[in-house]
């Protein structure tokens, strides 16, 4: 995927020069290994700062909310599905966007890499084709990228963008036979008490820094419920009940909307797998409504639509 960089620069330069877009949103190479920084480019002469590799695991759709310009934006499969969701939810207009599609084969799980080198400091991690070469002061290790993918990427079924104006390369084959909900099924099989213990332990390290919420393109409310004070829905200390309330409610707000992009987990400073919450809701949306978020502009999400002919009894 690293070879996309040149193509991205070429496209961004062209779009900015010919006035198709006023700004272009992509990534620039990070200052620390396995981190790239989202960047907004206005000047066609600056496009050489754009960069692409397997460490672009944030969700750029997050940066669209409330922008008014004509925007060029990079979009992988999941990012494009969030853009679709943003359009459906009236957070951005389709005609404001020029979507540059990236066929994606997955992002690297920086924590897994760190774990695999025994927690040692990583001084560089460079992608070479399908491999990641990781170096430290006294070691060098080569990883097959497909072995160290973020867990959401490993089970991704929509690697190609669903809504694009232009692709940087031909689509990649979609993964066959993935089992996206195996971990959810194991939680579903637990006794209620075990489940509670599982989730309590899952979030026990939470700092309430809200990186998960803020990295998520679905969280665009002008005032989040945790920040409201009249009434105050949830306490602001690190009391476990309040922390649990935050995680539950955040997850429910994502029901039928989450694309499992993994940004929430990627950004967590203490490594919480909060996708354990959202994935259950994704599974329910798929099983109950045959719905995966953001695949089409033609249909509204199941939880924000009312139809008199709904076959479920509860709605009548």
């Amino acid at each position: 995927m690293i070879q996309y960089t040149d193509k991205i620069r070429e496209i961004a330069g062209r779009l900015l020069k010919d006035g198709t877009v006023e700004v272009f949103i992509g990534y620039r190479k990070g200052t620390v290994p396995m981190m790239n920084e989202p960047v907004l480019i206005r000047d066609p002469d600056q496009v050489d700062t754009l960069h692409w590799d397997v460490n672009c695991g944030l969700n750029l759709c997050n940066y669209l909310t409330r922008r008014t310009e004509k925007i060029g934006i990079l979009a992988t499969g999941c990012n494009s599905r969030n853009i679709v969701t943003h359009i459906i939810e009236n957070q951005i207009k389709r005609e404001q966007l020029y979507i540059v599609g990236i066929p994606c084969t997955g992002m690297v799980d920086h924590r897994a890499v760190k774990r695999a080198v025994g927690g040692k400091e990583i001084l560089s991690a460079e992608q070479q084709g399908e491999k990641l070469i990781v170096k430290g002061a006294d070691f060098e290790k080569t990883f097959e990228i497909k072995e160290i993918l973020q867990s959401n990427c490993a089970v991704c079924r929509h690697r190609n963008p669903v809504e694009v104006d232009e692709m940087v390369a031909d689509p990649v084959p979609e993964q066959e036979g993935v089992e996206p909900y195996k971990d959810v099924e194991s939680v579903e099989g637990m006794e209620p008490r075990k489940k509670w213990e599982f989730f309590t332990r899952l979030i026990s390290r939470c700092l309430r820094c809200y990186a998960c919420r803020n990295a998520c393109p679905l969280c665009y409310c002008p005032t989040c419920f945790v920040d409201e004070s009249r009434p105050q829905w949830v306490g602001k200390s690190n009391d476990p009940t309040d922390t649990m309330t935050f995680h539950f409610l955040r997850a429910y707000h994502c029901a039928g909307r989450c694309t499992d992009c993994g940004a929430c987990e990627r950004v967590c400073p203490v490594g919480i797998s909060m996708r354990q919450f959202t994935k259950k809701l994704n599974k329910d949306a798929e099983e109950l409504f045959s719905w995966e978020a953001g695949l089409t502009l033609e249909q509204r999400p199941p939880l924000d639509v009312y139809r008199p002919d709904d076959y479920n009894d509860f709605i009548k």
Binding site: T31, E37, L40, E121, C209, Y210, A211, S237
Partner: protein, 349 residues
């Protein structure tokens, strides 16, 4: 001041024997990272971490701390009277503190313990603490303590310092508290001149080899309004998520918010860490928010650490160079880069 040298096994055993004198906290492995925990929770102690994910500031300035308790029961003669909530200020030893985190205590002291204001709880918690440092034989690539007035073997803020000499630890007392701590540690031998020399040479070598990467020299002379209005803030702030990672992981961020929580007729007054990255931080009761734009909040964090603090106290930046925000900012906003932009800024250019 006393110096003792311990075999590594003897040192671990000695720490275990301190329970009657101190509550001992030290970095313990918690999943993928290290965090300060009581020694009672230790399955294994290994002083081989780069640093802890969260700084030890939470041991002195907890993320949530009960300040007062009160009753709202009208039958209670003491209804509506704030009473100080009990706090544990028994002696505590914080062992294995990296020099950057100890240096940070001094930076934070200017806020919590100064001629104008004295925060009783912060002061008592610090007074109860003995800081036993661990010199950094191998500073990380993200560390820049040397650029901000510290160093990998800087002793400021520490009561004693451990130096890792391979199979042994040299432990040197630096203050009276450290002297007392060392006198209570069982075992070990007095360090001879050879060991002290070895440690001195190690510290010198590591300090000399550490690059001085972050320029701060011009910050104090640049006009504050010019920096405030500098053109780079929007670019610096673009990627920011306005999460609290940088501020919560930072050993020098001290801001807090005060909240009352009530259940039936009982209430508590708490203080919680707050973050200038959150819009709520500056939201007025009127609904007006003087920092309602993301770039304003990002600018505030950097201006506070790298300019306002510099101007107010005239003794360097409010950053100890631990590099946590550099490593863990989810979108890679790098304070070293921002400091460089600020320091190199030419107003009007």
């Amino acid at each position: 001041m006393a110096n003792k040298v311990f075999s590594k096994d003897a040192w671990l055993e000695a720490l275990g024997g301190l329970k009657e004198h101190y509550r001992v906290f030290l970095p313990l492995k918690d999943g993928d990272f290290f965090t300060y925990k009581p020694i009672e929770e230790a399955k294994k102690i290994h002083f081989d971490y780069d640093n802890t994910r969260l700084s030890p500031k939470g041991l002195i300035f907890p993320q949530s701390e009960r300040m007062f308790e009160f009753s709202l029961d009208t039958q209670d003669p003491e209804a509506n009277i704030l009473k100080e909530a009990p706090k544990d200020d028994s002696p505590r030893a914080i062992v294995g503190v990296r020099p950057c985190d100890a240096h940070a205590v001094g930076l934070v002291r200017r806020n919590f313990d100064n001629p104008e204001y004295r925060d009783p709880w912060w002061v008592k918690h610090v007074e109860a603490a003995t800081y036993v440092g661990l010199g950094c034989n191998a500073p990380c690539a993200t560390c820049f303590c040397k650029s901000v007035g510290g160093g990998p073997f800087n002793e400021e803020g520490l009561d004693a310092m451990m130096v890792d000499l391979g199979d042994r630890f040299l432990v040197r007392a630096l203050t009276e508290k450290g002297e007392e701590f060392l006198s209570r540690v069982q075992g070990g031998e007095a360090a001879d001149e050879e060991v002290l020399k070895e440690a001195r040479e190690l510290a010198q070598k590591v300090t000399d080899e550490m690059p001085d990467t972050v320029p701060t020299g011009r910050l104090k002379d640049l006009p504050v309004m010019a920096l405030f209005e500098a053109p780079f803030w929007e670019e610096v702030a673009f990627a920011c998520l306005n999460c609290g990672t940088c501020t919560y992981l930072c050993p020098t961020c001290w801001c807090f918010d005060i909240q009352d929580e009530v259940y039936k007729t009982e209430g508590i007054r708490l203080r919680n860490w707050d973050s200038c990255m959150f819009p709520l931080f500056t939201l007025h009761g009127s609904g007006h928010n003087p920092r309602d734009q993301k770039f304003q909040r990002v600018r505030q964090r950097f201006m506070h650490k790298l300019k306002y603090y510099v101007d107010k106290y005239g003794d360097g930046v409010q950053c100890s160079g631990c590099g946590r925000c550099v490593q863990f900012c989810p979108v890679n906003i790098d304070i070293r880069r921002v400091c460089g932009l600020m320091d190199a800024y030419e107003p009007g250019a």
